[in-house]
Symmetry: D2
Subunit: 439 residues, 4 copies
């Protein structure tokens, strides 16, 4: 059998306070509703041992998320903070709202603070105000784009931030952010540990690129690719609207091309998808430009979806600079491709009309879809259950449809990518009809 | 350990024809892309044996869906039929389109026929024409509401239908429909078996109510509840627009209240959700009407989402008639509730303004969301892979995110319901603040 | 030349207070921006006198709306009320918000009250609270469905209502409502006059049916018919989804079929439009049912849009009861048609599958479209300009694209209808291909 | 009285063929439905002569559009062409579809050709194919973005194009395009005249910028600004999502800022609108950057909508190059502003987070709104009525809500602009609260 690795979550201490949840429910359900810390799920669901070994390798086992019968924190005395970090993503406000609802209405917590502008809000030097949150304060947030708390990129000094938590007597900090943010949260947790404080740090993973490991899908991602479908439709109309029209769309996806792949599958008129996972060549008889020429000669229009992280190897000086979140500053593959396409067809004396669209923020700042909203609520509820039970240094995730607890260190250890040998990419190839590689 | 039940799928015979799929893909991926019939997934993913026993009981194991290295049918000589049955659902056209694309573009099948108007299209007595399908014929279908083939309720005589398949020399029949339809398909498969024919019957499960077992979510369901969110918003506006306004919305959900639950969670201003799984009382101090009165006295407006199958026990003569699909004809809980509410408040002399909305077909005939579309394509691809490998009497499903093969008999054996002790219903209770039961 | 009728608006008194508007604008624009009471527009724009006589008859001339250089009310001492009456309509909240913005931000009025639940809010016996309105209070209202003030049907005793205005020292009452409401407002104005009070009553006409005279289009109407297009699309999908499917949609339109006509033109797959302006017969060789049969025999599906006020002459007992707004309670032409169609095809032994959709409130409680929103803002601004200049017993309108002042008595004197000999109906006939009459 | 200028439309010859329209209509309407060439509307609708003189100057009078009782062309022998030129705009496909419907279904014309890729399609050297159009060919086009015929920029040699018309024996050419296109059409008409051919050239004005004179609103413009509202919402979410966030959106509007103005009014959270009609300064105490700083200091976020043609005077080298349509190639005010803002705040050492959005093609390639669609149909019908009556060198327009005929020379003589002293700009200033000028 595969080597199973129990990924138990760190707990601040023994739980002894009865959960108030049963008060809201019919008596007969009490027994069935609570989740036990010993409930683990196996991330490999293949039946046969040889398959497990072949397909899953060593197998992490996650704690099942959900309400615990006994709590570590006494709701009536608990003070919580919420902070949202990094780039925007549809659904952040839904998560904030659901955290407040679960804390206030279900657990009875009455002290909830929102930190402004990401980790800046926890660092004294910025002097950002703190917002008190209650159900009235978050009314009307459902489905609204952006984050009502504001955000910022980059981590702050963990010492400053834990000073802030200590000064404000925060018991639980909910951190909504991506993997850079989670590394910041880990640093904070280490500092908390060092000071021997009883502060729980629980993350809700946010990544519009859908690239966090052990999360079957990230919130906001489906909304984002749905919006991208509309952009691709516009590009398709543009491409058919001019002789040899080329609709070129740059989509989000720094290291993982999930948005480009899903949008292209859902939209069905995309002819080329370029993603970071698969390097490509522009020139030569099996290069991209030749394939584009063939397509245009045959059909007189083409639609291209390129993920922002694709083809970085083609760009001079790529990979050097970093933004405040520690992400590599990507060179602009969109305008580069646009220019190279124009240049190539000029050289071969063939009319081409490139319509370049960079929707940028317009696919990440939109309202969340109802389906995303339901997921955001589940994530927030799971985070509250975990935090009230004293869990820390973890984030909530969904694996095989089941809400789970994932240690922060595991989630940030690597990045989820589009499997070039997998079903998703095969479906993209079928949908676009593009050559498997441009070499 | 729990008793595992291997649910192997019936196969028409030995597979010996190499799949053409690798031709479209880079050589190095060939090995990794095929799925083996011995690949099974375990439907219980809990790690500890005692949990498995407690939470899963006996555990079915499903074949993993995906392309097989060897096929039963020779693509160049295969003739396929597609039929869509029962009520409309967002995404049917996406499934049809993706079946045609996968068959034609990937496997190279050149004979694909669409039967019109459900099983009627296979029964000689109706004389419906048959439609030839190819990529051009299904162009522009993505995201379009309804079914381009038409549908009908009810099963036809399996002898007539298999006569038709035999006469037309159909090798594979794809059946898109709900559990009544799948029972019809099973009858056909039995007749095929009796005649010792080599015809594969593969189902793609369609149920807007999300009530098919061993399917973690049914296609079209997320689109449907997203539309329902808009209806509930209108009901909310109406309820606030009049003194003691009550926005009452009847939503689909014959035996399972998934649409009402999900829409209410996503929309967040619903105050009462009534579903078939939980009988309720109208009168008495803990009845629904009293709770509604209390709500109106406090907030002067209320929104109610009632699933069409809820409260049937309150309605005279319920449960007697059946429609052509064999479904019980439900009595109208919507107008019943509307009238009972008006009557009650008239009696206690309190102004009430009930705005009743029955969106009926408008939530099932809409275009599919991009997210649903991606799922429809995956379902269709899995169905084609299975059928080409000679699998039969099965339907494709998704379990814990993994595409699987489910024997028809297993899928139709029972119906998926909202667990009253589970997370979904608890979230509804939290979101609405309604009493756990009306008794 | 045609007889011109100058429709001058009643004014409470002489204007002597300089408008504060120029303070917000560049000095050089002052001269050009004000409108004079002597600026009139002629409602007949035909050039030749004989055309004027033939096509326009006697010709009303309206005052041009817009800011006046001198005001009657001193903004710093003015107290305003806003009330919304009758059925909901997209855009009401936009009007409320724009009234508050114009009063507060442009004129500097600091006392604005919202009456709850229509005219009930002005009648002491209901005891509804009054809401204070300022820019913060109306923040986020743009594009939201419903009315934040609530509404009710029916007029209250003008004596009670004027008592309320007098007691609260209201100077200006803005009334948003339909023609029943405007008659109530006229009664109030008469009572104000009798008491010799200086209270201005200014209406903003609201009618989802687009049936108010001297208003080229009513706010909310375009949003409503746009929503109806989506419903008709669902009906079309349904009609094609079953053998001889009939998608039957009942749309708003009590006495005027504008919504049905516009939605059918925009949607283009409607085969029959039935409106109140054109009585029709069901039976007989030139009746509607025969035409429907011919259509089904030819194309096997049909879509019908019927306005709620159509065919009332076919319904027993029609025209007797009245609702609290004084409107005749219409009999249900939708279910009547549905049943008669089923019955007819049963008799002639032809399968028919009627899918009846009554979207009811879902087309009137939706958010306003951006285009409607711009119009709502213009209406509200015009109303404020007029009221501040002491105009009363008038409503704001748009005629030939120009914002104007219309005396209440003129606006309520008759109802706008679809001209059976006009371009709109001819376009419907062309779009549907239906026979010109069913006789 | 103002000097009236009768703008009669050139006619190819005497009309003698009875219109077939009455065949589709009830007999009693025949008399009332036809429009006479002597029916003119006066573009100035002010009543008093002094107002007319002051406000309208010399007053054009337009022919009223609509069906004529007698036709110049015999429908059974008429051959028509349709060409779409210039940039895309929502609704082009609706116009094409409605032209075909009106010609085919109402007039019975059976020879309709679509030229591909704008005027290129009429010039022999490009060799583009010609598409035959009938109701089936345009089925499903309603509300689809782009143009099914394709388009191109720039005019071709009128001699080549008229050669093509002559060779193909085209009787009527419908030209859908902007003012550059209309100048090309005029050149064609002059060449036709020179050759003494009987070919009617009728334009349907297309300008997403809403800048054609004597057209109260251009088709596609409302859809475009509605889409822009969504973009501005994203910018607003972005601006609130970061400390001192600035959402900067570049919108279409080369010489007229109508899209920016309307979108800003409808969206209501825009703080600065910059349009071509009003030059502005960046620096200095009353410059734009100082105003932005004040705004950020007060509210910590700002939204800016800048029309692409705004501030060209600030950009080096602006106004020199021209594109193939003859339009001046604008310098990029968007990136210029973005960079200048960053630079300015860096210099004053104040954190600022500029989120720049250039939605470019995504607001012009979208499906038309239902309201736009109705208008497109009216335009197309009017164009067909005019052309069948032998009118030429004209375009159809709407003035004060009335469909009219406008001589091409008049429509292209000048451009419609946002009146800085008018109601629209005043509403923008009220909505944004921005200073009247940046000087």
């Amino acid at each position: 059998m595969s080597k199973k690795i129990e990924l138990k979550i760190k707990r601040l201490g023994k739980c002894s306070i009865p959960s108030p949840i049963p008060n809201h429910l019919p008596p007969e359900t009490k027994e069935e509703m609570f989740v036990d810390d010993e409930d683990l799920i196996c991330t490999c669901h293949f039946s046969r041992i040889d398959q497990q070994e072949k397909l899953c390798g060593s197998v992490p086992e996650f704690e099942v998320a959900g309400p615990r019968e006994l709590l570590y924190f006494d709701p009536s005395k608990t003070r919580c903070g919420i902070v949202t970090c990094g780039g925007l993503c549809p659904g952040i406000n839904d998560v904030i709202r659901a955290l407040v609802h679960e804390l206030w209405l279900v657990y009875g917590v009455r002290r909830i603070h929102g930190f402004r502008y990401g980790f800046q809000g926890l660092a004294a030097k910025y002097g950002h105000d703190v917002v008190d949150l209650d159900p009235d304060a978050v009314d009307g947030l459902e489905g609204r784009g952006g984050t009502v708390l504001g955000s910022s990129r980059g981590n702050q000094d963990p010492i400053d931030m834990v000073d802030c938590l200590e000064r404000m007597a925060i018991n639980i900090l909910f951190v909504i952010g991506g993997d850079g943010t989670m590394r910041g949260a880990q640093a904070m947790a280490a500092e908390i540990d060092k000071r021997d404080l009883k502060i729980s740090v629980v993350g809700i993973p946010k990544t519009i690129d859908n690239d966090i490991m052990y999360l079957d899908e990230s919130f906001g991602f489906p909304t984002a690719y749905s919006i991208a479908v509309g952009i691709l439709n516009a590009a398709h109309a543009e491409s058919k609207g001019a002789p040899n029209g080329v609709g070129l769309v740059k989509l989000m996806g720094r290291e993982s091309g999930f948005i480009a792949c899903h949008a292209a599958i859902a939209m069905s008129d995309v002819n080329f998808v370029l993603i970071p996972e698969l390097p490509f060549k522009l020139d030569g008889p099996e290069g991209f430009l030749e394939a584009l020429k063939v397509r245009l000669q045959k059909r007189h229009h083409a639609v291209i979806a390129v993920a922002e992280g694709a083809g970085q190897e083609l760009l001079d000086g790529s990979g050097k600079d970093r933004d405040p979140s520690g992400n590599i500053v990507l060179k602009d593959i969109g305008t580069f491709l646009r220019d190279r396409i124009k240049e190539y067809f000029k050289k071969i004396n063939m009319e081409v009309n490139v319509r370049y669209i960079d929707p940028s923020y317009t696919i990440r700042s939109v309202p969340s879809s109802p389906q995303d909203r339901v997921y955001c609520i589940r994530l927030a509820q799971s985070a509250v259950h975990a935090a009230m039970a004293g869990k820390t240094e973890m984030l909530v995730g969904r694996w095989h449809g089941q809400m789970v607890h994932v240690p922060m260190s595991v989630a940030t250890s690597q990045r989820k990518k589009v499997e070039i040998h997998g079903e998703l990419w095969r479906t993209v190839l079928e949908s676009t009809g593009q050559p498997p590689v441009f070499k």
